[in-house]
């Protein structure tokens, strides 16, 4: 067995992320072109610029994975942002070929992954994020429990 990949190597493993997005095409089927989600390792939220993995809906349909600098919450150019502890990112990366969304859900619950929404709910719904948020059990999570 080789050494565990570094955070950067995990983020940059674009073919594996894209293969996963392809397999979960249904979950993102309603997304509007140009909509995107970012995933930033926690340490990178404090670096300028940090590194951010983005999943975006291409103009012609389908999801693409890419890397972008993270320059802060204010203008990170995505609709939804995940901030991941290294352990959370590693768990999701390990599960890429298996149940990555299930692992994201579990990491959220373990607080190894944290979600920020950068658009209001109605806009997220209009843009087609409903299925994905529901899959992660997030749509109405919280709010006085």
């Amino acid at each position: 067995m080789g050494a565990a990949p570094s955070t950067h190597e995990m983020l940059a493993d674009l073919p594996a992320w894209e293969a996963m997005l392809e397999r979960h095409a249904d979950t993102f089927a309603a997304l509007q072109p140009g909509c995107g989600l970012g995933l930033v390792p926690k340490d990178d939220t404090e670096r300028r610029p940090g590194r951010m993995l983005v999943w975006t809906r291409a103009e012609g349909g389908g999801m693409q994975a890419g890397l972008r600098p993270f320059t802060g919450y204010k203008d990170c150019g995505v609709d939804i942002l995940f901030v991941a502890e290294e352990s959370g990112l590693a768990a999701i990366h390990r599960a890429l070929a298996d149940r990555p969304l299930g692992e994201m859900k579990a990491a959220l619950r373990r607080s190894e992954l944290f979600l920020f929404v950068l658009k209001p709910r109605d806009q997220l719904i209009d843009d087609g994020w409903d299925d994905f948020l529901e899959t992660l059990g997030l749509a109405f999570l919280g709010a006085c429990r």
Binding site: D26, Y73, K74, L81, G102, K105, A106, L108, R109, S111, F114, L115, F116, V117, L118, K119, P120, R121, L124, D131, L133, E134, T135, G137, L138, A139, F140, L141, G142, A143, C144, R145
Partner: protein, 655 residues
């Protein structure tokens, strides 16, 4: 004769003083009433006033009126129809509320609630100390407050407090509960400022200190209560540690807060704070810590502490000074009377359904599962008044809908007989309640309440008696009214044909009428399938859920969906969603997933927990046998406890 108040729960019902106020007991009604009953621009309605009269009548020594937002723009507004206190034009209704509280012998406190991160409901943005995006889609994108804006907000709080006192309130309260603006400044999660309002605990607490100073100057001689978290439950995501929460509490006390109400959690905290899955008394340690740290400051506490006897013991042991109670008084406004008179078996316990709060977050007026009249106090139709014509009523089915209807009808003077084919009351709900992992005792309290009230009111129970046309022919002309509250059953027609005896009804499995084998496949992952699966799995069965829909928990109330999702994961129950059943046999089921792949799931028991249909046959069969025929609850449309209780009540109130 009722027991004298002084002898029972002596600490809770002890007279007390708070500054210049003499209090009739040590109970504070917590601001548990952001209601969404009011006008969109914040004016209090007749509906709210009628509800508040009930609150005033609960008998608490201190009553806190719901949080009003203090700014004209509505940046502080958290709820769709929240009350406003930024202008004198709102005062006449506040005067009435202060009057109700005083008439009932209570001390009146007005809460001022600027929702900060959870505010700006009509604006499309919210304000915060720093731009930290939302974690819940419900809330608005944030804008950072400038120093000038902070000063203006402090002044708005002081003005609102002055107005409250002008309206007759004895004091005011500010709140950081659940992550509102004060909490946003106090917490390192949302306060990442580098000026004098951010950084150290002292700096983060500066906004709080300025609020305390400004309000106290604006309302000299009138006490100020401050609600502060003992635990934010946000520490894992960068919020304050518990130690920091207590440093802030100490700071508030030094600055002159007249009472500290200890609370728990933020809306977006990754764990529960007030749900049914939190055991009563779970957070008491937070109050104890506050009291130990600040022995001279009155401490109020009550989060998930629904039991007056426990509260009495806590006061006796010096854990806190005032029991701050909220939802238990929504569920039963007569709780204190019943507690004082040792009649707790007649208490309608808050079952932690969170129907109240779920509705607020859907911009709907809040209602209570257990108290169908809540929010309808202004409507005479909801009052239980003597019936003009006394009738003989038969209720068919002793589930919550039937029992609720029976109790209300009986209280109106009708003579009531309940027929139940099972050997106890509670219906299908009883089996379901017994399996609930969150807090089975809370749900079972509903059944116990019905048992107590049936006995007390003299409702005749005919258990083990199935109503059918034959029985009815023998009863002809004995009853004026029949109410079909016969519940629902699993709709097997939604499933493919199956081998004889291969399928067990979820309700039979839940009631223990059928024992499940080791390997169980449950068809349907709604609340019944999930509850059964969780219970079986935690008792060692090997369980798989099959759901035709894309998601599980479709019929579960919004604020509890996550709970089932979490249990399913924690317990390791495989859930096959978007999966159809094509064949059911004694050895297991054949299923087809969304991609068309077929597989066989071996099982010792296959349980049907798909959609239910109402037991409606009696509507047709009894039609020509009785003067009035009505129905309520799941027999009409299968839903859940809230609708069953509410429909039963409404029907009982008008027969």
């Amino acid at each position: 004769m009722n027991k004298p108040v002084e002898n029972h729960l002596p600490h809770l019902f002890q007279k007390a003083s708070w500054g210049r106020f003499a209090l009739k007991n040590r109970i504070k009604y917590g601001a548990c009433c952001v209601s969404n009953y009011n006008e969109r621009e914040g004016r209090i309605t007749a509906r709210e006033l009628a509800r508040t009269e009930v609150i005033a009548g609960t008998g608490c020594g201190i009553i806190t009126n719901q949080g009003a937002y203090p700014d004209p723009l509505g940046e502080g507004k958290a709820y769709f129809r929240q009350v406003a206190l930024h202008d004198d034009r709102f005062l006449p209704e506040f005067e009435k509320i202060a009057g109700y509280i005083h008439d009932a012998g209570g001390v009146a406190i007005q809460q001022i609630l600027h929702a900060g991160r959870y505010g700006g409901i009509d604006l499309g943005y919210c304000v915060q100390p720093s731009v930290v995006p939302q974690t819940l889609p419900h809330f608005r994108p944030p804008r950072e407050l400038s120093r000038e804006q902070i000063h203006a907000i402090v002044a708005q709080h002081a003005d609102a407090a002055r107005r409250a006192v002008k309206a007759g309130f004895d004091g005011t309260e500010i709140t950081s509960f659940m992550g509102y603006l004060l909490a946003n400044f106090n917490s390192k999660f949302t306060n990442q400022r580098s000026d004098e309002y951010g950084g150290s605990v002292e700096n983060r607490g500066r906004f709080m200190c300025e609020l305390i100073d400004a309000i106290k100057q604006a309302t000299p001689g009138h006490p100020l209560v401050i609600r502060l978290n003992g635990a934010e439950l946000m520490d894992r995501v960068g919020g304050n540690s518990e130690d920091e929460c207590y440093e802030l509490m100490a700071l508030a006390a030094r600055r002159g807060a007249d009472m500290i109400s200890v609370t728990v959690g933020w809306q977006e905290a990754p764990e529960s704070s007030i749900g049914r899955d939190i055991a009563p008394g779970h957070w008491n340690r937070l109050a104890r810590r506050a009291k130990l740290m600040l022995p001279d400051v009155p401490i109020a506490f009550g989060v998930r502490l629904p039991d007056p006897e426990m509260a009495d013991r806590c006061i006796r042991d010096g854990d806190f000074d005032f029991w701050e109670v909220c939802r238990p008084l929504l569920a039963d406004p007569e709780l204190l009377q019943k507690a004082a008179e040792a009649r707790m078996a007649e208490n309608r316990r808050c079952v932690g359904s969170l129907n109240c709060l779920s509705r607020l977050f859907r911009d709907l007026p809040y209602t209570c599962t257990m108290n169908p009249a809540l929010g309808h106090e202004v409507e005479p139709e909801y009052a239980i008044t003597p019936a003009a014509v006394k009738k003989n009523v038969m209720v068919i089915g002793a589930g919550p809908a039937g029992m609720e209807c029976a109790i209300v009808a009986r209280r109106r003077g009708h003579s009531v007989t309940v027929y139940e084919k099972g050997d106890c009351i509670g219906g299908n709900f009883r089996s379901y309640a017994g399996l609930d992992l969150a807090n089975s005792d809370d749900l079972m309290s509903v059944v116990r309440y019905y048992e107590t009230m049936a006995k007390k009111l003299g409702i005749e129970l005919r258990l083990g008696t199935e109503v059918n046309p034959k029985l009815m022919r023998g009863l002809l002309h004995q009853f004026d009214v029949a109410v079909v509250a016969a519940g629902a059953r699993v709709d097997r027609q939604l499933l493919p044909p199956c081998d004889p005896g291969a399928l067990v009804d979820a309700l039979d499995a839940a009631a223990g009428r059928v024992q499940c084998g080791h390997r169980v496949v449950i068809l349907g992952a709604g609340k019944i399938g999930l509850t059964l699966a969780e219970s079986l799995k935690s008792r060692g069965h090997d369980v798989t859920l099959v759901e035709a829909d894309k998601r599980i928990a479709g019929d579960v109330q919004p604020s509890f969906k996550w709970r089932h999702n979490a249990w399913v994961e924690e317990l390791g129950i495989p859930c096959l969603t978007s999966t159809r059943v094509t064949r059911i046999a004694r050895e297991g089921v054949t299923v087809l997933d969304a991609k068309g792949a077929e597989r066989f799931l071996a099982a010792d028991t296959v349980v049907a927990a798909v959609m239910r249909k109402g037991n409606q046959e009696l509507f047709h069969e009894l039609e020509w046998m009785i003067d009035e025929l009505h129905g309520c609850g799941d027999a009409l449309v299968p839903r859940g406890l809230t609708q069953a209780i509410h429909e039963g009540y409404r029907l009982g109130a008008r027969i």
